[in-house]
């Protein structure tokens, strides 16, 4: 896919069709004039989760169910020559499935038809965790023995691990506006920088899990942990040759997703379904943590380079940005992740001359996919650190340089989108800075850094002196996040949400939108009850079961509250109008039971209609990339240990503009959780690879923040409503993920004078940046580990003993001027 746009071409600007209301900071429980804001209702499924009654996939019991397992490649790149079943083992008790058992297309249906459900014999293995064979047995012990009695034959092929060296391009985009050469000519300062981010694991606490149950009509019902029932429904229909009714997908209670259960569950479901088809029995495919970490999708690693022209007073005049993402072995959602990354790459800043070139390539590592933020956290980290370095070079405060460049109402983005309304960049920045007392703290930390400089054993080093045990720093970051699907995505989805007034007088919501902790099952009844004049408890929500609910689009992209919530409001208004009209205008709440008795059930199916004034050309990449943007600011305060360079994130103030707050407690919960995921990304979360395999593929070695690592988080919810959505909501889930990491890294710089160019900002990288240790690359020792491990999933190589020789590239600043 190539999209090129001639520089300088712009869309015809559309005059603001309404003035944006002033953004508003919402205090929890506060009542806002003109609107009723009662405290939000309690989480609908909360009591079930709190008592242990809620049934997650692995809690479901299907009598007679067998256990399934996946035999995976141990090669990063190879030809699959065949497999041998040990004749000494009794295979009569085992179901063995290979690619020849797939009745339909051997393709995991998504964007590109490149990923097989199982690699066929003779086919090409593209990554080390690639599924080859499926096994099932009536009990776990027999299954465990069977796994050891199967041998895989392969012929290795030279792998590619470097995304820059790969010539297989999944997608590339170029976005350009203005005249880049003229921009750089007008610049007083040109600054270059290269920034790198690695894999990040979603690390939902419930692993991927699916149970497939054969149906009498030859189809299959799949119960599992998932975000997008209709993605799986489509994948099952295609690979198993089933019709709409034969394929049924039912969401179990889902223990977190964060994007990690957007596309991968299709594979787990297909595998379970193939085994169920083979055995005629229900088959449980429940991943353990090691398999989940080894095989499932991660956030795309990225290499982002910036060349920025800026005037002496700190105004951006040219941005030349290149984004390279590592897609892993298969396309998955990479083109869409890259697209969002490209559009957000400049950060929330006005710049007349911009060129953004983005590409994603294939490497022989497990495929990367959706993760909260979806391409934006990678590029916004780079954009924010670049801007921080510019501010430092120009001796302008980090706050002030953002004030001078942030998007205001009426500004135009690099795709030619005129920001006609709902722009709250300044509001979130000022609110966060004020609450965190940024200017005052920043003045104190700068004075402390000056005092420390040169006082330690190393010239110019801020390391420990007789007085200071730790150095404190404060950092600020600002981000934007496009609301809903990119470009014409929402129009193509054509989502449907429904409300039914049953013959029993009960109101039921029918949507395919899933609950995975973010609050779907609470805010939907809340929105509908408000429209119908009913109590929260009077509105039911049906299970997420493709036999019952319409396709409301995937539960991703922070689109559920905004898009599907909006559809439900429209549906509720239509239902109310219909019922009240035929009952002489009597209130819906009073007549619904009588109406149902007279007229029978009434159902309203609401299909998405394009947002007004939103036009995007997918061919030229010009126009309104999103109907609106959410805006987020984060101020982080850190302590850096001056002996060990260990970072403690002490306080975070997060200000997020979500359009309209539907449920303050749930919205705060999204901001707090997303903020901590971003802090983990910034400080401790890192996947190390050797020969294309993740080394730290256990929870003992891939670590995420605990309660002791988590800072105090203060959330400020800001409202700049979007007029195209009936309730004004723009979504909240992903916003905090974009902004936490650059704020923490800016704070580390404030404390130490070191700019970290590669996440996570580990003590090793900080010490290297200080010049205390040298950047080290230790050559891997081929064969030293792998020779003894024939099945990493089964045996689970513990990488800890080799930690000292891990190939690790520590990228310090490229020249001494980059630190003060």
């Amino acid at each position: 896919m190539t999209i090129r746009t001639p520089p300088g071409r712009t869309m015809t600007p559309v005059a603001p069709h309404r003035s944006a209301p002033d953004a508003l900071v919402v205090d929890r429980g506060a009542t806002v004039a003109g609107r009723v804001r009662p405290a939000g209702p309690l989480r609908r499924e909360g009591p079930a989760k709190l008592t242990g009654e809620a049934k997650y996939a692995d809690d479901l019991v299907f009598p007679g169910a067998w256990f399934g397992a996946t035999i995976r490649s141990t090669d990063a790149h190879a030809r699959f020559d065949g497999f041998d079943l040990d004749p000494a083992f009794d295979w009569s008790r085992i179901a063995v499935v290979d690619a020849s058992d797939i009745p339909g297309d051997n393709i995991v249906s998504l964007i590109s038809d490149d990923q097989p459900v199982l690699v066929p014999v003779g086919g090409e293995i593209q990554h080390h965790a690639e599924p080859l064979i499926l096994l099932a047995a009536a009990d776990r012990e027999t299954l465990r023995r069977a796994r050891r009695a199967i041998a895989i034959r392969t012929t290795p092929i030279a792998p590619v691990f470097d995304p820059l060296a790969s010539d297989h391009v999944f997608a590339h985009y170029e976005i350009a506006t203005g005249d880049l050469d003229a921009g750089f000519a007008a610049a007083d300062l040109v600054l270059e920088g290269e920034y790198r981010v690695g894999h990040q694991e979603q690390l939902y606490i419930e692993n991927n899990a699916m149970i497939a149950v054969p149906r009498e009509d030859g189809g299959v019902a799949v119960h599992g942990s998932l975000q997008c029932p209709y993605y799986i429904h489509k994948a099952l229909k295609r690979s198993l040759r089933l019709d709409d009714a034969q394929a049924r997908v039912v969401q179990a209670e889902t223990g977190g997703g964060f994007g990690g259960k957007e596309e991968y569950p299709s594979i787990v479901a297909l595998h379970a379904a193939l085994l169920a088809r083979k055995t005629g029995k229900p088959v449980r495919m429940i991943y353990d943590r090691h398999e989940d970490l080894s095989a499932t999708t991660k956030r795309h690693p990225a290499i982002v380079t910036h060349r920025t022209g800026v005037t002496a007073d700190g105004r951006l005049v040219a941005q030349d940005i290149e984004v390279v993402m590592d897609g892993g072995a298969y396309c998955t959602l990479t083109p869409v992740v890259l697209s969002r990354g490209a559009i957000h790459a400049g950060g929330p800043y006005r710049c007349p001359n911009v060129r953004i070139r983005a590409r994603a390539t294939r490497t022989n590592t497990p495929p990367n996919g959706a993760f909260r933020g979806f391409g934006a956290p990678q590029v916004e980290f780079a954009a924010e650190i670049q801007l921080g370095r510019i501010a430092e070079a120009l001796r302008i405060s980090p706050l002030e340089i953002r004030r001078r460049n942030l998007y205001q109402l009426g500004d135009t983005t690099p795709t030619g989108q005129v920001l006609r309304e709902s722009v709250a960049a300044a509001e979130v920045l000022e609110r966060a800075a004020e609450a965190a007392e940024f200017e005052g703290v920043h003045a104190r930390t700068a004075a402390a850094r000056t005092r420390r400089a040169g006082s330690g054993a190393l010239p110019g080093s801020p390391l420990r002196t007789g007085r200071d045990r730790t150095a404190s720093g404060i950092g600020v970051a600002l981000a934007w996040h496009g609301a809903g699907f990119t470009g014409s995505g929402e129009v193509k989805l054509a989502s449907v949400a429904s409300i039914e007034l049953g013959a029993d007088g009960k109101v039921r919501i029918l949507t395919g939108s899933t609950e995975m902790g973010q609050g779907t099952k609470t805010i939907f009844p809340q929105l509908v009850a408000a429209e119908l004049g009913l109590a929260f408890d009077d509105v039911e929500i049906t299970p997420q079961d493709t036999a019952i609910v319409p396709d409301s689009g995937p539960t991703v992209a922070s689109r559920t509250a905004m898009v599907v919530g909006g559809l439900l409001i429209q549906a509720a208004r239509r239902l109310r109008a219909t019922v009240e009209e035929r009952n002489g205008g009597a209130p819906f709440a009073d007549v619904r039971t009588a109406d149902a008795a007279t007229h029978g059930p009434t159902r309203v199916d609401q299909e998405f209609e394009p947002y007004p004034h939103v036009e995007f050309d997918d061919e030229t990449y010009r126009g309104d990339a999103y109907p609106a943007f959410g805006w987020a600011a984060c101020v982080a305060t850190v302590d850096v240990d001056l002996d060990t360079a260990e970072v403690t994130v002490r306080d975070v103030v997060a200000a997020d503009d979500v359009g309209r707050v539907i449920h303050p407690v749930l919205a705060e919960g999204q901001v707090e959780g997303g903020t901590l995921q971003a802090i983990g990304y910034a400080t401790i979360e890192e996947i190390k690879l050797r020969d294309g395999r993740y080394l730290n593929d256990r929870l003992a070695t891939y670590i995420i923040p605990t309660a002791l690592d988590a800072p105090r988080i203060t959330t400020l919810l800001v409202e700049a409503p979007y007029s195209g959505a009936p309730h004004g909501a723009k979504g909240v889930g992903e916003l905090p993920m974009d902004v936490g990491a650059p704020a923490v890294v800016a704070a580390i710089h404030d404390a130490t004078g070191v700019w970290i160019h590669e996440l996570p900002a580990s003590p090793e990288r900080i010490l290297a940046g200080l010049g205390i240790t040298r950047p080290v690359r230790v050559a891997p020792q081929p064969g030293a580990v792998d020779a003894t491990i024939d099945d990493p999933i089964e045996h689970g190589a513990d990488p800890r003993p080799e930690a000292a020789t891990d190939p690790q590239v520590i990228r310090g600043p490229r020249d001494p001027d980059e630190r003060t």
Binding site: D59, G256, D288, R289, G669, A707
Partner: protein, 158 residues
Amino acid sequence: MTAWSFAVNGLPVEVEAPGMRRLLDVLREDLELTGTKEGCGEGECGACTVLLDGAPVDSCLVPVCQVQGTHVATVEGLAEPSPEGAVLDPLQQAFLEAGGAQCGICTPGMLMAARAYLDAGGGPDDGAIRESIAGNLCRCTGYTKIVEAIAIAAGGHR
């Protein structure tokens, strides 16, 4: 196979199982108490936390032979049954009101760790609460509202 006798949520049970069978599997599969969750199977995440004679343990790391003669408390024992349905205990109620449970998969373990903290006389101090749940990973909440909920249950104000 040996028969192991212990109490679960105040009721005596006898389980026939190999001595090294994980308490987690005994609870979930043999006793059908699926409220206790498995997140990692190696004692890192705390999702399987139960109380063994009042002390929080990772039930994935406890073989059933070590449970002989003890009292095991799980999430199913927190709420009081009543004819109108379960009545949440004050800790569960605080989680519900403060927003301490999102996806809910860490919640049973988190509740049990917090229950042990409160039963030992723990108060609303932020640092002490965080220490008490440091062995329980949550990926949804950022811990803010969990700490708040435990503080409320400990008699503190939000």
